[in-house]
Each structure stands twice: as C-alpha cells, then as structure tokens.
C-alpha cells in the first residue's frame, strides 16, 4: 500500500468497499464507520460513499490493488456526473489514489514478465461479452504483447482460462511451449507463484485469486523467474 493511501485511511471518517477488501484494513483502522457489500452490489457501495461525502464526511472507498483498474473509480465518477445533472455536485471532492494493481505485484513475484509492452485483459464476462474478450485475446496475440489475465476463473465459469488459452493457440501467433506464469494470493496468506508453458496453463485449475501471465515471443524462463527482456542485455 502506498504512503498516500495509508494517510488517507488514517484521516478519513468512513471506509467502504467489497467485503473482502474492507476486512483487510479493518484491523489497522478499527475506529471508522464501515460499510461493506458483496460482489454485484457495487453500485450500492458507491452510492453510500457519495451520500456520506454529501453529508460532509471524508470517505475512502477501498478497492483491490488499484481502484482505477477494474475498480470503482469509474463508477463513482459516473454516478457523481449523473447527480451533477440533477442537483449539482454538492461540494463533493474526489481524488483517485493510484495503487499497485495485481498485474504489477504478481509480476514482481515472477520476476519481470511485463518489462516490455503488455496488455491486461479480464476473463470475467459478467460485464463484458465473451466475444469481445476473445477479440482482445486474439489482438493481443497478434500484437505480440505480454498478456496479464485477471479473473481467469470463477465458480460459475471454471472453463474460461482453458477457452482463453485455446483462442491464443488458435491465433497462430503462439505455440504450447510459450512461457507462462501465475501468481496466487499475492501479498496474502498462501502466496505462491509458478512458471509453466501455455499448454500446461490450459489445464491449470486457476481460481479467482489467481493472476495469469502469458509471455510475448521474447519472454524467457530464467531459473525460477519469468523475464521479458527490453533488449538491454543484447
């Protein structure tokens, strides 16, 4: 966590977020007003935060690594703008505080898989049609990006990672021996990382706490590390 975020948490009145993330900070700052909602209750969470801010309270919305990457920063801005049309922004001041998203913290565990151009794609089709996800996977393969996958699997979609690997293999731009890696429970109990081939990744039982890395054509396995060179070594 950045110093800037720690300071915001230390100075605020209310902390709101997805249940799992709120529980990660509650121990550090027990004497705050808390509001936590489960998955699919994102809008409710944001509206609560905006309502408290309108009352003049200082609210921190806790997301995962970075609130701007598959986080709530966008929805809060959309809801504030919608309100603005109706009754003015009511003196609500918003700051988005950047953080270390899982793409970066998982990459650090593996070595340097994202050290050259890369693409980040979520495999969750809850908010994005699967056809668009497939289109992005194929384009990322064509562009020879290193690829980081969020939400590679979930209870309701255990086969998404396998389907994604099949799209990449069918693209013709990579083979089963492409260097891949994954990081799980990053920065939490049970943290682990693993390097494997794309063929092995296709059959790996990833879960929703896993972040997946697919190398570019330049990515190499160096011992227990996954490295995409920038060319300095050459």
């Amino acid at each position: 966590m950045t110093e800037e975020v720690l300071q915001a948490l230390a100075e605020c009145d209310c902390i709101v977020g997805y249940t799992v993330y709120v529980e990660l900070v509650r121990g550090l700052f027990p004497d705050r007003e808390y509001y936590a909602t489960p998955m699919t209750r994102e809008r409710d969470r944001c509206e609560w935060a905006i309502a408290r801010a309108r009352e003049g309270r200082s609210v921190v919305m806790v997301c995962s690594g970075d609130g701007g990457v598959y986080g709530m920063a966008g929805l809060v801005l959309e809801l504030l703008a919608a309100d603005e049309d109706a009754e003015g922004c009511g003196g609500v001041e918003l700051r988005v505080l950047p953080g270390v998203t899982a793409a970066l913290s998982g990459a650090a565990l593996l070595g340097a898989p994202l050290a050259n151009d890369f693409a980040v794609i979520s495999l969750s089709d809850r908010l994005t049609p699967w056809e668009r996800i497939e289109r992005r996977l194929a384009a990322a393969a064509e562009g020879d990006f290193a690829i980081c996958l969020y939400n590679p699997a979930g209870k309701s979609r255990p086969e998404h990672l396998r389907r994604a690997c099949d799209v990449l293999l069918r693209s013709g731009y990579m083979r089963e021996d492409r260097v891949c890696g994954l990081a799980r429970n990053i920065g939490r109990d049970g943290q682990e990382q693993r390097i494997m081939t794309l063929g092995e990744l296709r059959d790996y039982p990833a879960d929703m706490f896993t972040t997946v890395y697919i190398g570019s054509s330049a990515t190499r396995r160096i011992g227990e590390h996954m490295v995409t060179p920038r060319g300095y070594g050459g």
Copy 2:
C-alpha cells in the same frame, strides 16, 4: 511510494539508479552510498548493484514508478543468470518490489481511463524496432483496448506521437474524435493533466515526462475526467 519500498530504502546500504530517480530519494536518505548513471548506462548500473550485493551489502536499485515496467528488474535477472552460469549466484538474493507505474498514477489524475482492458506501449525505438511498435499500436486498436503510451516523444524523436496517432487513425478502428488524455510530471513539480481528442493529440507537443492515454470505443469524457466504464452504470 509503497511502505515496502520505503522500508527497503531505510534498511539498505547502497542506492543506485538513473540520475533523475536517484535525486528524488537522496534527500530522504542522505547517508547511503549512491551510484547514479545517465540513460544508456543501464547495464553499468546493474553491474555495480550486483557487485555491491556480492560484497554482502544491501542494495536498492531505484527505477521510476515500477522497476518491472520498462525498468531494470529484467536486466538484473538476466545479468545474474549469466553470472550464475560462470560462477554461481554467490549468495545474491533478489527481490523485485512492485510500485505504481506511470500508467496507473497518470490514470488516477485523469479519472479512470484504464478501468477496463488496456494495453501499454512504449514509443521509444531505442530498444524496439519501430515496425514492431506500429504492429502493437494497430493490434491494440483492433482489440479496442484503452491504450497507455510511455515515452511518447524525445529530443531525438519529436514526431513519434504523431506517427503513432496516424497508425491508430489508419487502422480504421478509431476516428479523430476518440477521447484521449495525458498526464505530465506525475507526482512532481509542474504536474498537469489534460483531456483532448485523438486529432488534437496528434499535434500535441508531448515530451519525455508525458504519459498518454487513448480511450477505447467505450471511453467517455465526464467533465474534466476521462472514464472507461466497466458496465456497472448500465
């Protein structure tokens, strides 16, 4: 800066890095051994760090936002591996500490331009052939990613941003009215952000302290913010 990095700086013996970044931390930790080299002396810097570590000293290599994103983590790993072939790793222990890369800190200034799938591309052709950069730009446009550009211009290549915008426009996947933004001197004196169209970006005099954002087809301008919705609002 994360707590983890501050702690590493507080506990280390030596701090090494690109001159500009070293100067940003020297004031905080004046009583360390410092070694700074200019651009193009990356390898020298890494070798110095490894040599000090082999002597049993604790060394922090300071990169920009995240040492794993266009940073030195990969080169250090490559050099350590090369040494390992010759004489063993000599007890050098390496940890990559993730940080907030400019893509994320600049995005926070602009709102939430990277809140859905995105691609990160450097326009520097010092280490990557320009043809490969063009291929990645075209693929990112085809995949309808939000795009973040690093190194949009430099003294020796003032026209790279214009050439990149032309590639995107020629791709047929975006028009001149595509929502774009940029952040400059992020977290430093002279920090600024700006939202504009792709047509305006094409003629913008970006410099090497500028990070550029090109929206996906879903990205919208909301007041002074740039937001790529995830779909929660719909």
